[in-house]
């Protein structure tokens, strides 16, 4: 009986929606928006994949160049320049032999561009890698475009999907009352709860089928179903999208249960959208900015300057510095002096340490601010879902932070490999090249992503539960059509 009733309502809804002009326009429009957003995201992934490929090819070319020159030297040729002599450890480990490391686009970048348009996704690692390396800019991009942000699926999901839900559901009960059909309906053995639930469930199926369908098509086209990793991310993506949409459906049901007019419902729901999606995230950020201002990066520049002045002063050898800046201009035959290389490394190391201190202070300041934002993000379902969507896509902060910390560790390995040789003035040969430390990015496991998503997802589910309960109680009180 119950399932039959629901089927009847669903069938009728289908007929009604099929006959409704507004929804006939709105729903396909949304599918167009989804598809457009997806095409956009996919273009971005292709761009990134191409860049990563070029970056990696650079490594091969550099290594081949070194191999060729080392072979030639072995056969008695002179190095192209004494200061670019690949046999020197600080040349092979320095800029000439620098190893480029790149982060592949997140598994679902096509769905959520996230921070990937802003944060650097490849670095050159050499013995000179230090904290300032991580200050470099990401991709070349018009700041205006960065400010506005991309039209990706995540944007459509966070901002526009709720509006679609509200447009489809704001008068789900009030409209029936206003057009007078509610009286006949409630004179049948159907409760308002079941009636509204069935009507909203139908709309939810349409909305989610569109949203998730387009997402899956996108993943399919970009070949993301390949390994087992993305599958978990896809599930998380779909779950976050579903729960977020359900939140707005629950809110719609609740507002409808209050028994006010359709226009009142519309105003209140749009107001709720504005507060939850626009105002609260802004308020939280403003509060975080005031309570825990982010320590400035400008300090880092001053610190770097002072540290290197300091280090250089200790060497107090102006000539050496001059030679270091422009040895080729002396015209003489500057041969390698191991002591000079060692001296230079000592100074570099001192600067690096100072930079790490400043950087650490900056990081902890940022963490404090984040902590505050994290605590209050529960107030806004938009913030919660944004976090989950970009995290699932692998374009959130954590994957970039993971990349950075692995690059940092790799730079450490690189230095440990070359610094002893620099200090000892050892000569490098082509045999060394295959034994150089290699960078292998260990991507997040599904467990990491799942663990991070647990809290926001549970919070969102609880929100849905609370609002849904409000709606349940409210609808229970709806008896008649008056």
């Amino acid at each position: 009986m119950q399932t039959k009733t629901i089927k009847t309502i669903l069938l009728n809804e289908w007929r009604l929606l099929a006959a409704d002009r507004t929804l006939r326009i709105v729903l396909p429009l949304f599918i167009v928006l989804f598809a457009y957003a997806l095409a956009n995201g996919m273009a971005w992934v292709r761009f990134q994949e191409h860049t990563v490929q070029v970056v990696r090819e650079g490594n091969v070319q550099r290594t081949e160049g070194l191999e060729r020159e080392l072979a030639a030297i072995k056969n008695g040729a002179e190095p192209s320049s004494p200061f670019r002599d690949p046999r020197n450890a600080n040349v092979m480990g320095g800029r000439r032999g620098a190893r480029s490391v790149a982060l592949d686009p997140g598994p679902l970048t096509a769905l959520a561009v996230g921070q990937s348009d802003l944060l650097p996704y490849y670095y050159d690692v050499s013995i000179y890698t230090n904290e300032t390396t991580f200050l470099q800019n990401g991709e070349v991009e018009n700041p205006l475009n960065l400010m506005v942000g991309r039209f990706d699926l995540a944007f459509v999901a966070i901002y526009l999907l709720p509006l679609l839900v509200l447009a489809m559901g704001f008068n789900v009960l009030s409209g029936e009352r206003e057009q007078g059909t509610l009286a006949l309906t409630l004179s049948q053995p159907v409760s308002a709860r079941r009636f509204v639930t069935a009507k909203l469930a139908f709309r939810a199926m349409l909305v989610l089928a569109a949203a998730i369908g387009v997402s899956l098509i996108g993943i399919l086209i970009s070949g993301g179903f390949g390994s087992s990793g993305p599958l978990g991310r896809i599930l998380l993506w779909c779950a976050a999208l579903t729960v977020y949409a359900l939140f707005w459906f629950a809110l719609t049901a609740w507002v409808n249960s209050l028994g006010r007019s359709s226009s009142w419902n519309a105003t209140v729901l749009v107001g709720a959208w504005l507060v939850l999606v626009v105002v609260l995230p802004a308020a939280i950020n403003i509060a975080a900015g005031l309570l825990h201002p982010l320590p400035s990066r400008v300090e880092m520049i001053t610190a770097q300057r002072e540290a290197s002045n300091d280090a250089v002063n200790r060497r107090s050898e102006l000539l050496a510095r001059y030679l270091e800046d422009h040895p080729e201009l002396t015209g003489g035959d500057a041969t390698d002096e191991p002591s000079r290389a060692a001296l230079a490394w000592a100074a570099t190391d001192a600067v690096n340490q100072r930079l790490e201190e400043v950087s650490e202070r900056h990081r902890s300041g940022r963490d404090e601010q984040n902590e505050l934002i994290r605590r209050y993000r529960f107030l806004s379902p938009a913030l919660l879902v944004q976090e989950m969507l970009i995290d699932a896509a692998g374009t959130g902060d954590s994957r970039f932070a993971r990349f950075q910390s692995q690059v940092r560790a790799y730079a450490g390995q690189w230095q440990s490999f070359f610094v002893p040789a620099i200090l000892a003035g050892e000569q490098m040969s082509a045999d060394v090249l295959p034994t150089l430390p290699a960078f292998n990015f260990v991507d997040e496991s599904l467990g990491d992503v799942g663990q991070r998503a647990t809290v926001p997802l549970s919070a969102l589910i609880i929100l849905v539960g609370l609002v849904g309960a409000g709606a349940w109680v409210g609808l229970g009180k709806v008896r008649g059509a008056g």
């Binding site: 009986m1 039959k4 009733t5 009847t8 309502i9 069938l11 009728n12 007929r15 009604l16 006959a19 409704d20 057009q179 007078g180 059909t181 009286a183 006949l184 309906t185 409630l186 004179s187 049948q188 053995p189 159907v190 409760s191 008896r479 008649g480 059509a481 008056g482």
Partner: protein, 268 residues
């Protein structure tokens, strides 16, 4: 009963007083249990008594007409039977089921035609009927049968497939009645069903009610129309300020009597 002018009831030969109505109702439905029954049913809105201590029984094959001016409590009574409102005290029963306790089950026995039958404008009359019939539990009525019912209710055959947005009030009313017929419910609640209908449509409607009565349906109809109440009804109750002030069987009185009694109750 509280004291007050409303409770003073004329004791004429033709008219049963409320005090005696119990016996009459009993005699009318002596053999069978009442389909619709109100027991000391009261509904109070903030400061206003909409229905006060209403006792009412409608048995099978009875057409009970509730007469009274606007605001007398007729519609409230119907809504109490439908469970649209929660009684302040007393109870409404359908086939012995307490409406407040078994809201959904009791509605399986009720068919309802509101004063304004409002339908889904984008669907045809047939589609509306199919939908509401299905909601009422008749999920698998074939289209032929549904069309037949619409014909029974008086809807022209050529209108069956056109959208309701093109229907007149009378046509919508007919679909409403078709919905009630299709449900094959034991009780039919009608709220001013003939208001706004032309005389011919009203006559058709009366004939339809006769048919339903013959099938054993219990009909409770709220109306302003004294003439039609006398013609169609088997019994008439007059309500004023939420109270049932008079009750009579239509066989025992003439049109003029009914009008006189009604006016007397309105003016004291």
């Amino acid at each position: 009963m509280e004291s007050g002018q409303e409770s003073r009831i004329e004791n004429t030969s033709e008219v049963q007083t409320v005090d005696e109505s119990e016996t009459l109702a009993d005699s009318a439905g002596a053999a069978v249990a009442p389909v619709l029954e109100a027991r000391s049913l009261s509904k109070r809105y903030d400061e206003v008594d909409a229905v006060v201590g209403l006792d009412l029984r409608v048995g099978p094959s009875e057409i009970y007409c509730l007469l009274g001016p606007n605001g007398a409590g007729k519609t409230t009574t119907i809504h109490l039977f439908l469970g649209f409102l929660e009684p302040s005290s007393g109870s409404a029963h359908v086939m012995g089921l307490d409406v407040a306790e078994e809201p959904l089950k009791s509605k399986t026995h009720l068919a309802y035609v509101p004063e304004q039958v409002m339908l889904y404008r984008n669907l045809s009359g047939l589609e509306n009927l199919a939908y509401f019939a299905a909601l009422g539990g008749k999920e698998s009525l074939p289209t032929d049968r549904l069309t037949e019912i619409l014909g029974e209710a008086g809807l022209q055959a050529d209108a069956v497939h056109s959208r309701v947005s093109a229907y007149s009030k009378g046509m919508r009313q007919k679909v409403g009645i078709a919905i009630a017929i299709a449900k094959e419910a034991g009780a039919l609640l009608l709220d001013e069903p003939t208001s706004g209908l032309d005389p011919e449509a009203s006559n058709e409607f009366s004939e339809l009610l006769e048919q339903l009565k013959d099938r054993g349906v219990a009909v409770l109809m709220a109306t302003h129309d004294l003439f039609r109440a006398k013609e169609t009804g088997t019994r008439v109750g007059i309500m004023r300020h939420g109270r049932l002030v008079a009750e009579m069987t239509t066989d025992e009185i003439g049109h003029a009597d009914l009008e006189r009694i009604y006016l007397e109750h309105m003016h004291d």
